[in-house]
């Protein structure tokens, strides 16, 4: 049964830019290889954390929204857990209201961008 999931993860701020892109690319590749469809991807960049995690008070946030088989999520999270550059991750199953909400949010964001460009 293909469900829609949303995975947010935080990378240590110690990484340089290419390392950060490389980690993100690694997970993107993992999703693509296993035949998941990446619906949306967002990079919030460096943000200060509300409380220090592993003695670090800021981190790179990244978000993946993807469609996957139920069984795949365990394998995906195993990879997230094993990668030591990632200090925290959260995968969430999206119900229909959540999917609708995300689409609406993306829609308004695009409109704002278009307005800015005009």
């Amino acid at each position: 049964m293909v469900n829609q999931y949303e995975a947010v993860f935080i990378m240590t701020p110690v990484l340089s830019d290419e390392q950060m892109k490389e980690t993100v690319g690694k997970f993107e590749q993992l999703l693509r290889d296993s035949g998941c469809e990446i619906v949306h991807q967002e990079n919030w960049g460096m943000r200060t954390l509300a409380y220090p995690i592993k003695k670090k008070s800021s981190g790179f946030y990244h978000l993946f929204e993807f469609k996957a088989e139920g069984s795949f999520v365990r394998e995906f999270e195993l990879q997230l857990k094993r990668d030591e550059r990632i200090i925290r991750y959260l995968t969430v199953h999206l119900d229909k209201y959540a999917i609708e909400y995300n689409q609406k949010r993306r829609h308004t964001k695009e409109q704002n961008n278009n307005e800015k460009q005009q």
């Binding site: 935080i10 509300a50 995690i53 978000l63 959260l90 969430v92 959540a98």
Partner: protein
């Protein structure tokens, strides 16, 4: 009640019991996003604790959604577990 001798010039302003309503039902909000910190801070007091239903008046169904969203936000360090007077300055 014997006369306590205290005379109020103006009647004590008793807070008229205005009917509390569930803002999610009224506004038709169906999903509470755990990534939207500024919205979630309204349901948290200045120590960072979740406000009870009797104060906010939200229905049980949506209070559970709010609580879950706040706990998720705390997990990914968008909201603090315990804050000190952070009332809406985020």
């Amino acid at each position: 009640m014997e006369n306590t001798g205290i005379k109020f010039l103006t009647p004590v302003a008793v807070d008229v019991r205005r009917k509390k309503y569930c803002r999610f039902k009224k506004l038709g909000i169906k999903y509470i996003d755990y990534k939207d910190a500024s919205y979630l801070f309204r349901f948290v007091n200045d120590q960072g604790r979740i406000l009870p239903r009797r104060l906010t008046g939200t229905s049980l169904k949506y209070q559970k959604k709010v609580a879950q969203a706040i706990k998720r936000a705390r997990h990914i360090a968008i909201m603090p577990f315990v804050g000190d007077n952070l009332k809406d300055n985020k």
